[in-house]
Amino acid sequence: MGREVEVQYTVEQLVAVNPYNPDILNDLENYVNEQVSSQTYSLDANLCLLRLYQFKPERMSTQIVSRILVKSLMAMPAPDFTLCLFLIPERVQMEEQFKTLIVLSHYLETGRFRQFWDEAAKSRHIVEAVPGFEQAIQAYAIHVLSLTYQKVSRPVLAEAINIEGLSLDKFLEHQVANSGWILEKGHGRGQLIVLPRNEFNHPELKKNAADSIPFEHITRIFPILG
């Protein structure tokens, strides 16, 4: 019976309850595979596993580590990839597949999407093992684009998300319908895409935080007002 109760704990809960328990290593490894197949993600659980590997380097499985890294790449723009690298010994990082992942991360970090897609195409075996990889990176690319651009030209977008031609048209149609993108006619050279407004590409949207005073600060003068 007790066993059954245990099983009901999700791995997430296990990590929250007892993060420094070497016995959950297997559960965590399985959980990484589960994350891959079910397209979910838990940084805490993965960091916990890497930490356990750090304590017991002989238990480390490079396959699991590489999956964790791919998963963390997909979590861009969060710095999860570096967070994972902080916990992986240098000599392990020297292995070929990790080197590739580090290069990929470097391209993403520096906004070099064309190089990224080229490199990713060369190492399909790593990234295609994880479903949803392409979409996740595209989402990241769109995130960075919409931080930067109010209006972006079609080729730039195409390069960043690595979609061209008809499928790009389909993609755009979908975004127009769902995410409030607007297509404009550019001056002669083709389409311009108006990305949804946010406080980063439309600075006037930024709430003027300076003028508002948090409530806690007001409470300090309550006794004086009273």
């Binding site: 309850v17 007892n18 993060p19 420094y20 328990n21 070497p22 940084l43 805490d44 960091l47 916990c48 930490r51 750090q54 304590f55 017991k56 380097p57 723009p77 969060a78 710095p79 570096t82 967070l83 690298l85 902080f86 916990l87 010994p89 240098e90 470097h106 970090e109 520096t110 906004g111 070099r112 999407f113 064309r114 960075v144 684009l145 931080l147 930067t148 651009y149 109010q150 209006k151 972006v152 030209s153 730039v156 390069e159 550019g186 311009l192 406080e199 980063f200 590409n201 439309h202 600075p203 003027n208 300076a210 003028d211 508002s212 005073i213 600060h217 007001i218 300090r220 003068i221 004086i224």
Partner: protein, 803 residues
Amino acid sequence: MEVIGDALRQAFMPKHEYETLRDEDKAWGKLQRPLVTAFVAFILLLVIICTTISLNIVFPGDSGKRPFCSDERLQPLSLNAKGGGGGDSDLFPGAYYLTDQETVDYYLMVVFFPSLLIFLLSALYLVAGLIVAYTAPKRHECLKVVENNYCASKRGGVRCLSVLNIIFAIIFGLLALFLGSSLLTLGNSCSVPLFWCYEISSWGLVILFGGTAFFLRRKAAVILDEGDFSGRNLGLEMLEANPLEATPEVERRVNEGFKAWMGSSLLSSDEEDEPDTMASFDYDDAPANSAAPASSQSQTPDAALGYDPNFVPDSVKSFVVHLYRHIREKNVYEIHQMYETSFQTLSERLFKDTPWPSVDAVAHFVDNDHVFCLLYREMWFRHLYARLSPTLKQRIDSWDNYCSLFQVVLHGVVNMQLPNQWLWDMVDEFVYQFQSFCQYRAKMKNKTEQEISLLKQFDQAWNVYGVLNYLQALVERSMIIQILEQEKEGLEQFTATDGYDYSGGSNVLKVLGYFSMVGLLRVHCLLGDYHTGLKCLLPIDISQQGVYTSVIGSHITTIYHYGFANLMLRRYVEAIREFNKILLYIYKTKQYHQKSPQYEQILKKNEQMYALLAICLSLCPQVKLVEETVNSQLREKYGEKMIRMQRYDDEAFGIYDELFSYACPKFITPSAPSFEEPLVNYNQDAYRLQLKLFLYEVKQQQLLSGVRTFLKVYSTISLGKLANYMEVDEPTLRTILMTYKHKTHAVDVDGKIVSNADVDFYVDDDMIHVVESKSSKRYGDYFLRQIVKLEGLISDLDRIKLD
């Protein structure tokens, strides 16, 4: 005779010179005891003689002649005109005269027997008191006489005994006054000698009782006796222990955690066999010097003769005894004084380069109290780590000691109040020793065979699971997270009382749990797990004052690691903000800590945080977040370097490298070494990895400062033009701009995107529009602060007027 000579000489010596004498040399101390003993014997003799004489008067020998009653015929006549049995009453109506027989009967029945009865009652306490006072620092068996008394349980045996003696002294004084004077009124010839006998013996007893009480009172501090009354001597933790209420859930979680990594060794390493490990210390550098401290003036305890772990100087004895007493009495202020000042002074004076006396040598001064011995050893090891270099065996023993100490605390049975400073130091030292052990273990190259076998044997010592689980267990068992949560709703007081418990409970577990969160942050930073580290600190709201700010060491450690973790997570603004606050705080309060033992540490962390601030500001030039004083300090220290860091050439990387290496925590590799391979040092591995990844990040940002400079000068500029200026092609410029956006927009704790950018822009197809983020002053906050300040000033003024 020699002693008396010494005493005379010392009596005439100047005061300061006398005070320089060691306690053992002071002749008065030696003379005291024989003198007092002689005095007591004299009084006793007097009492006995007087009693014998009075009894002789009462029961005259066969001759019938009572001694000292020689004037029996004259006295009554001269004084009271008539003798005899009270028949005639002409001159003094109502006056009557007693015969000798009646007088002695009166004396015997009214005076002597009641006094004897009282004396017999009290004799037990008198004798016990005398013996206890005589054998002072040792606890004598005689204390048992008061074992079941009401006052003993409340105030301690010695004090109780002293109170009893005072009571009897007063009783005898009253007897002497009233019963004695009633003898005189009899006006019989025998009444005067009886009166004198009675008075002398009663006052003698008064002196004896009073003296005993006085000495007992003085010795009460030394003879610590509480906790011994029902025959159990289990120390502090047994005192009115009210076991912590832990929900079964917590219980289970904690136990699981322990079982998981400690297995059965949890039980075997427990409690009782502690002293043995202590005794088995081999002090390599200390030739056995068990000779009793000679009283020759030239030799001081810390003489270069070596270290005798069993020699306890008087000052240490009194330190230990008083500390123990204050802990029992929950006198936090005194504990803090002794801990902060006396301990440092004694260390400075007597134990500059030797350890303190071993715990075995002091244990009997403190009733062998288990918990106190653990605390003492904790300090013992801390002192050893600070002043000498610990051997492997000592490191392992220190680990064992921490385990025992935390076990006792975790079982929730301690009932002490310790100063926050001490509790912080425990956690801090625990993590420090862990870090130090990892560094030590990683230097495998020049390990001796013996050390390696010890390392293999004690692989549980300073095991990373152990360290993390202890900290985690302290956090969970103390329920500190829930307490802080409830405090926000006003259901609980923690911060307001600085964590102390004024309703009689113990603050130890709670505050240890609180500081353990900071400890966890630090351990995780040492491991390179910044995300988890920050998560551990989450329950503490660092934007406000809290218990962590009540101890300067914890304040600095918290912010240093918090800032560092944020730096590594690219949340530069957050790091800058907190560094700025703490650096300003240190700048303002530095002078108050000059005498503190942590002063050097404070200064070092101060410098390191300036270096980290320099790094943050170079990567994210939000100078307006930095207060003017901090900024000028920063320019003074790193101004020139910061300019060079903007250039992003090899030299700049060199400076980033230098500052990071100087200011980063001492990263550790937590795993045990592999003993088989050719032994290699791996103590630098963790540091090199963090440095490399950090420099990698810096490299990714190397082109950003160029963009920044151009963006500052233009309000709009076309992509082509800017690419031209920057000598790159347009697609590259697009990537640079995106990098800029990505790197300046960090993901915060809640997963929201926050902008760290000082200069912001947006691109409209081919046009860059620059948005100068105006330095928006926070007027609201400023006014609020001024209102509070003004109000304080006005109320101060009001107070002055009243005076």
